[in-house]
């Protein structure tokens, strides 16, 4: 085992007290989350297995005819994304709580909103990876073409809103002993508007409605994303501090 060396290890004056950049801090958190997940694969594998099981169960349980499948698809898809997303959000913040890592993050001299945005981007990346895998599997199982640009835009907007709120609430829930059950209880009521809008917009695109008919739901998704990202940006500091 190496022994601690006895040389003087104060750094040169130029290397001391620099200001870490906001974007650099966000980038560092995203890199850290992706690097750790690439190695452990705990979070993604749990989300993926869960999501695939949900669509399999729906497939066998409902035995839908082709027309009903088209109608039911948006609901099944968003239920799958929501439940798998909750699993990912819980795990993503639990990793920060293990070994006191959240305190390590909070001790960094960066605006704490950088931590929020870093975690949000990581969570969004994990959710999008799951969606990229689920969509083709769903298409094959349910015999429905889901590669519709409008639907993909809705999934992207819905995921942004879901993760924006979910990251904030999971950082609250992780401070409690009942974090696993608390997150869905806190999160689901708050994301009801986004789920309704996402399901309606997805349904519209799958049924081939004109964009103008779907647009109110798209607008609701955009407004929700902007408002909740702004709210999270403003309150995150208070949420994570004792």
């Amino acid at each position: 085992m190496d022994r601690p060396s006895t040389a003087n290890h104060r750094s040169s004056p130029t290397a001391r007290r620099p200001s870490p950049g906001f974007l650099n801090a966000i980038g560092a958190i995203v890199w850290k989350d992706l690097a750790a997940e690439l190695r452990s694969r705990e979070l993604l594998s749990a989300m993926l297995v869960f999501a695939l099981l949900v669509i399999l169960i729906f497939n066998f349980a409902l035995e839908l005819d082709p027309l009903t499948r088209r109608v039911a698809t948006p609901g099944i898809l968003w239920a799958t994304f929501t439940f798998a997303g909750t699993l990912g959000l819980n795990r993503s913040m639990a990793v920060e709580k293990d070994r006191g890592c959240l305190d390590g993050l909070l001790l960094a001299p960066v605006d704490r909103s950088a931590i929020y945005f870093g975690k949000t981007i990581s969570n969004l990346a994990f959710m999008l990876i799951v969606e990229v895998v689920v969509l083709p599997v769903y298409s094959v199982l349910y015999n429905i073409n889901l590669f519709n640009p409008g639907l993909i835009a809705v999934i992207l907007l819905g995921s942004v809103g879901y993760v924006a709120v979910g990251t904030l609430l999971s950082s609250m829930a992780v401070q409690t002993r009942t974090r696993d059950v608390l997150l869905p209880i806190l999160l689901f009521p708050v994301v009801i508007p986004i789920l309704i809008a996402a399901v309606k917009a997805s349904s519209g695109f799958l049924q081939g409605l004109a964009v103008t008919e779907v647009m109110p739901y798209i607008n609701l998704l955009i407004v929700y994303d902007v408002i909740f990202t702004a709210v999270a940006y403003m309150v995150f500091d208070f949420v994570v501090e004792e």
Binding site: A15, K32, G100
Partner: protein, 232 residues
Amino acid sequence: MIAVKKLVKRFGLKTVLRGLDFEVQEGEFVALLGPNGAGKTTFLRILASLSRPTQGEVRVAGYRLPIHASAVRRNLGVVTHLPLLYGDLTAEENMRFFGRMYGVLDLGQRINEVLDLVGLASRRRDLLRTFSRGMQQRLAIGRAILHDPDVLLFDEPHTGLDQDACDMLDRLLHEVAGQGRTVVMTSHDLARVEDLASRFDVLSRGIISASSSRNGLGKNNLLHFYRQALAG
């Protein structure tokens, strides 16, 4: 370097700190002693800007908390009984991540210096979760000094370590504290802090109930001083 006046901290109806006054000069190594539940960790978390004071004035490295929390954090390193490091990253990746979070310049060279100091240069590419508890704690010290802070806060750093790991940690604490840094350390292990600290403060019933320099105490008198402070 640290100045605290009439600090009060309440959690709901429970008052943990009751008008605490505390001052540490530059380069001092202060051991903060006290029984379980005395508020040592709460006090250190306030100094570390992880918790807000209910009342009172707190200054660390010349900056007031919580207003200038970011400036305080830039001058502060914290080691707790948890390593605050990621198990699925290697030692070097952990250092690189926290170096980026602190905006450390010339990061590669600084990581080499720090890993050399904590004696983990040869394990730099190993995952943290494969490290023993003692090695994790040494790397935690590396994380705390990576940005070369003037103030170090140690909250029960010996917890869960065996005798050899404690001895090695003490040598490391002595080394990093002996470079002109100001240190505040909480501990239950009087024998260990007796050799490390230059001043001993006892936190009891939410205030500093007694304080003594090492010279004022005499050899092997720390236990007597501590018991008297708690009894008084």
